[in-house]
Amino acid sequence: MQDYEIVRLCLQGRTEYFEKLVERYQKLVYSLARTSLKDPQLAEDAAQEAFAKAYRHLASYNPEYRFSTWIARITANTCTDFMRKRREFCPIEDALEVSDPEGSPERQVIGRETKKRLETLIEGLDPKYRQPLMLYHVSGMRYEEIAEYLKVPMSIVKNRIYRARKMLKRAMED
């Protein structure tokens, strides 16, 4: 079922369908909140608040745009509000340092030191390269979604992700 169909059902009173949208976009919303806010609990609160805001303003959603970019924009604004309240800015490495205790098998394969080095290198990237890279690999957004979210042409997104990877690859090989 398409996002706009779910939205339409919610607006018709079948609000239980909103759960499908939460399920689809929880990773995106949480990872965006997590990379903006230092405290994991605060990030969770912000992510919940973003979904609550999206729910309240569901009637204002324009189906001409992707739901992912709409909710990503709401999340970014919510995080800004949270940061303003707390005056707590998060360096990217803090967001990256969260370790997954279980971890997928592929994550376990990656050596701890290599991982740490990659995190440091990502942190050292220019934000204009780091942001689309993180949105792609961590938040799981697609190129078109990133372009819509960052309000830049898709060619720029592709180029920045490519250049970010190239810089990381070269630095990792040194």
């Binding site: 949480y30 919940q48 729910y55 009637a59 204002s60 394969v109 190239k166 990381l168 690859k169």
Partner: protein, 182 residues
């Protein structure tokens, strides 16, 4: 052997953005070219590492928490988009604010522009009145009288302004009612 693979091509390959033909061509080339095979391997490893960067593991029970949080919430009615009247009102306010900010600079400029515009109009009016056989001096005298008795005419100006504001308010209210019912 075909030319070696470009780094951008590898980046597109790991994203799965190459078409079937290009993808098969790349893989075939890497089977023959050791250098490109190594390169492909390192691009794949990089993607694996980047995908493995933590920070996106959603806390347990997140979805349930969101659903229980919105249980008491209501979906608000859609916010109406700004209509042409609101945009016009905003533009007038903006221009008024701009004028009040730069009044000392703008006033002489505006009076210059107005006098330049008024000159041909007054010539046209003079010619028109002369052509109609009316003495233009009569009109000038009439306007002079109006200016001299401005205080007596003031209540009429006020009444006119109130009447115009009322008509405008009725128009706005009428449009809003029509939008709500539609």
């Amino acid at each position: 052997m075909k030319r070696c693979i470009d780094a951008r091509e590898f980046s597109r390959y790991i994203d799965g953005m190459l078409d079937r033909k290009s993808m098969e061509g790349l893989e075939a080339h890497c089977r023959d070219c050791e250098r490109c095979a190594r390169e492909l391997d390192s691009w794949k490893k990089l993607k694996e590492m980047l995908d493995g960067v933590p920070g996106a593991a959603v806390p347990e029970g997140f979805r349930e928490k969101v659903m229980s949080r919105i249980a008491g919430e209501k979906i608000l009615p859609a916010r109406p988009a700004a209509g042409p009247r609101q945009i016009l009102a905003a533009a007038i306010l903006f221009l008024a604010a701009l004028y009040s900010m730069f009044r000392p600079l703008l006033r002489p400029l505006l009076s210059d522009v107005l006098s330049h515009l008024a000159k041909p109009l007054s010539v046209m009016m003079y010619n028109f009145l002369s052509a109609m056989g009316i003495d233009p001096a009569l009109l000038i005298r009439f306007l002079g009288n109006v200016m001299a008795n401005l205080q007596e005419l003031f209540p009429f100006f006020i009444a006119g302004t109130i009447a115009m504001s009322a008509v405008f308010a009725l128009l706005v209210l009428g449009e809003r009612t029509a939008r709500q019912s539609g």
